[in-house]
Amino acid sequence: DAGITQSPRHKVTETGTPVTLRCHQTENHRYMYWYRQDPGHGLRLIHYSYGVKDTDKGEVSDGYSVSRSKTEDFLLTLESATSSQTSVYFCAISESGGLRETQYFGPGTRLLVL
């Protein structure tokens, strides 16, 4: 298994509070991704990073920000959580970002916003 960990694995929070999810990899892969998974929607890309301090938006980036200060860590922040952000969040990594490169997924973080 690819060395990807996500923390926390489960979180319950209240509407309006900030939340930060962490993805940590030990593979030294350049590309990292944040997806959310919702019933009936599959996985949707929130943000991705193609290097330290280099990030870009995905298809559902509103309400989310990201940061990558080290190769191994990619943080996803919900500045002010809303109930619509209740979801399962997956981090993924790939070596170069080219689609010939497999994306490896972390175990996921379940977030419940009350």
Binding site: I4, H41, G42, L43, L45, L99, R100, F105, G106, P107
Partner: protein
């Protein structure tokens, strides 16, 4: 817009029966195509991928998929399903922008 469609939300098969999961894509050009499997409470695991060449692709766990350009399809097959194959299966496609577009998934139930 790029899209991936998995027409079947839920499929039930008996153990030992054959399986085919459908996937259709809509892209400007031939995309790169993937099948992932997700067991309950787990992340996604890559089963197989298609980039070019032979249109029949072999993957892990006895799965294969066939790319059909004329039908814009990339269906996943397995000749004999095992109870451990019960999971959710996602088809995904990617183009030149390095981003994957996922289908909504097909949940597979295996009856003993």
């Amino acid at each position: 817009a790029q899209s991936v469609t998995q027409p079947d939300i839920h499929i039930t098969v008996s153990e030992g029966a054959s399986l085919e999961l459908r996937c259709n894509y809509s892209y400007g050009a031939t995309p790169y195509l993937f099948w992932y499997v997700q067991s309950p409470g787990q992340g996604l695991q890559l089963l197989l991928k298609y980039f070019s060449g032979d249109t029949l692709v072999q993957g892990i766990k006895g799965f294969e998929a066939e790319f059909k350009r004329s039908q814009s399809s990339f269906n996943l097959r397995k000749p004999s399903v095992h109870w451990s194959d019960a999971a959710e299966y996602f088809c995904a496609a990617g183009g030149s922008n390095y981003k994957l577009t996922f289908g909504k998934g097909t949940l597979l139930t295996v009856n003993p």
